[in-house]
């Protein structure tokens, strides 16, 4: 079969959507590859991020947060596989954990969670979900780490059903209670029984099943008799609603804010049978994906905006510890998107909420840094009709 052609305007759209980062030459390379090969090239296995170690103590979490934020953004700016990092952002906004709310967890724990997103992000959703259910940050964030049979903590069970799998309307309060019982005893520890107070901040938590805290009795979950948290996960992983719910979110992230219903149904099937990479391959090779109605249909999140802009300007390393870098780091909060720290367990609202008055103003004010400096801005991928720094105040600069 003949390779399908990819035009240059299609290539800039594909690169912007897949990776939120790119320059003219890369778009031209994709054109030369043709559509299928270009998509496969973008979706190849992620390059691992550099290891994280810190000189901070376990109490110096602010410093750790700056370090991992800087490290992640620098990785996104330099990795040969930037599409994997935009997908990490998706998983981070979906299978959320808030840094400021997750007391006890360290930078290393959050760094490890991102590594899980990277390693399993393209694969079957069930595998990612099983890993996240045992992820120390998640266990701490949604309080399952402290859940015991005498008084099960319902936080993880509730969000697992409402936000991570089947979505509202498909379960009862009783199902949440029963699922919470099933997950009792899923907790964390430091290796070798180290005490958090004395351990180095480079020591990461690990998952442990505490039999004494577990409620071994029978439970009824979504009409089935079960005993363990693994069985809860299996039921949710087999449930078609899980793929409809998460598949819709993926379409919102990669296609448009309100994807048409037939497409959602098809996306759910592809996502269920083939995993996330197959879903993306399916989407990126559809003619529809390149139609004018979906081009520029999404508003860049602050992280996508900054990564795209810095990359267009040839920036390869940021320093959040230095004085100008501190300002950028604070701007992330003012724009409404702090990495590793979504505002709520439901992640970021996205869309036009990024452009409410205060967050939008903070974005624009960052452009001052680009004025009068001899940056060689290559805006071909960053935005349509972008030529010269002044183009950055066009509405198109905000679009993905």
């Amino acid at each position: 079969m003949m390779a399908r052609a990819l035009t240059y305007p299609q290539a800039t759209h594909l690169l912007r959507r897949a990776a939120a980062r790119g320059r003219k030459q890369e778009a031209q390379q994709l054109v030369e590859m043709g559509l299928e090969a270009a998509v496969d090239y973008l979706l190849r296995d992620p390059a691992p991020a550099p290891a994280y170690t810190t000189a901070a103590t376990r109490n110096e979490r602010g410093q750790q947060h700056r370090e991992i934020s800087q490290r992640w953004l620098n990785h996104w700016l330099t990795t040969p596989t930037p599409a994997a990092e935009r997908l990490v952002l998706f998983w981070h906004g979906h299978l959320t954990s808030e840094f400021r709310e997750t007391m006890g967890a360290q930078g290393i724990d959050f760094w490890n969670q991102f590594a899980t997103f990277r390693q399993l992000g393209y694969g079957p959703y069930g595998e990612l979900l099983k890993a996240i259910a045992r992820n120390p940050v998640m266990l701490l964030y949604l309080n399952n780490a402290q859940s015991r049979k005498e008084h099960p903590n319902q936080n993880w069970a509730r969000e697992l059903l409402e936000l991570y799998t089947i979505g509202p309307g498909h379960y009862t309060e009783q199902d949440i209670l029963e699922a919470a019982r099933a997950f009792t005893g899923w907790t964390v520890r430091l290796p070798g029984g180290q005490r958090p107070r004395e351990a180095s901040a480079n020591v990461a938590f690990e998952f442990v099943f505490n039999r004494n805290w577990h409620d071994p009795g029978e439970k009824t979950f979504l009409g089935k008799r079960i005993k363990t948290g693994d069985e809860v996960l299996e039921i949710l992983i087999a449930h078609p609603k899980t793929y409809e719910f998460v598949g819709r979110k993926l379409l919102k992230f990669y296609l448009c804010p309100e994807p048409p219903e037939p497409l959602v149904q098809e996306a759910a099937r592809v996502f269920h049978s083939g995993g996330t990479r197959e879903f993306l391959r399916w989407l990126f090779t559809r003619d529809e994906f390149y139609s004018p109605q979906y081009r520029n249909a999404i508003i860049k999140s602050p992280l996508e905006y900054l990564v795209g802009l810095w990359y267009a300007a040839g920036v390869t390393a940021l320093d959040f510890e230095g004085r100008p870098g501190r300002g950028l780091y604070q701007a992330l909060a003012a724009m409404g998107q702090i990495p590793f720290d979504p505002p709520t367990v439901a992640g970021w609202d996205g869309g036009l909420s990024w452009l409410a008055e205060s967050p939008f103003l903070n974005r624009l004010n960052l452009l001052a840094g680009f004025a009068g400096r001899e940056y060689k801005l290559d805006l071909e991928v960053f935005m349509d009709n972008g030529s010269g720094a002044l183009a950055l105040v066009k509405p198109e600069a905000q679009l993905l």
Partner: protein
Amino acid sequence: MNRRDFIQKSLLTLALGQGAPSLLSKTALAAQSRDKILVVVNLFGGNDQLNTLIPYRNELYYRLRPNIAIKREEVLDLGANGQKLGLHPELRPLMPMWNNGELAIIPQVGYPNPNRSHFISTSIWHTADPSRRQETGWLGRWGDLQDDPFCDTFLGGATPQALVGERRSAPAISSIDAFSIRLPRQFEEAFNQEARLVRSGTAEEVRKAMLSLKGALDKIGRLREVKNRAQYPDNAFGRSMGDIARMIAGGLGSSVYYTTLGGWDTHAGQPPRQAELLGYVAQAITAFRADMKAIDRDKDVMIMVFSEFGRQVAENASYGTDHGEGGLMFVLGGGVKGGLFGSEPDLEDLELNALKYQTDFRNVYASALQWIAANPRQVLGGDFSPVALI
């Protein structure tokens, strides 16, 4: 918000930018209300009622909460008018308001068939529609009837659903002092020029956001010289309340100000966390009222505090509480009739370990709407019995 909303919002902003006197362009309905102000404080995460308004004479309370109950000797006694209930010690700054009859406490506020999801329950409170058919916010629907883009103002990052209408949504201003454009002249000129070029699709929505931003920059810029006359606690919530006071003193002209304070989702380690947050609320509100008194506006301002639900009655294994149902509201101000609007909670008649609701939140909204001379029926889409707060 859909595209139409944005277009409408920006048309209004434009109209204002062209110098239409806001007073004259207000509807008759709004004109009556221009002196009264509603300040809404949304505590996100689900504040625990039982440790805020404490049934400290009830043995069962201490049995169900062996680790997290507020000690009897620390509870602030509400006296004869407070039945057998008392307040959390961190709320001490509010006690003079209680004693002056300016603090209304409304326990177990909720709605039929309560939902324990933060997001669904928040959306129900914001739309004032437990059937979840409404997409606009209750104050957004009120805002649709006004002709002033600054009839309401949100203090924070992105406007919540409560303030989103069909035609417009409240401007989101996170801080007066940070709200200024700092771009070189040629960028600012290019920005103004781009904002005039009509687009289509999402680009047009962005352009509308640019217009809204321009309108807000003009209005908020004029407030920078206004100073607070009271000392606010040094945290984000304190600063928001301080900015609301500056907006009122500077004549921004909003009838509704809305702000939020998160962190109330206390599944674990509840006591120190909730105490800290309650302290923020009490201190900031106290400072705000002192500020209002200093400019002689205290009797014009009603402050309404709510959370999406209360929490469960029995504590969990991690010194916390899980999501419940009925929750607590505070309404206060110099023109508010204080008192306890409800009864001591029945800890033996629970719904899956949660307090049942007693008062429909829309009854409280109805009072708040009356306060700003709005028509509760028009906004809430039904007849609710206003709580006698005015």
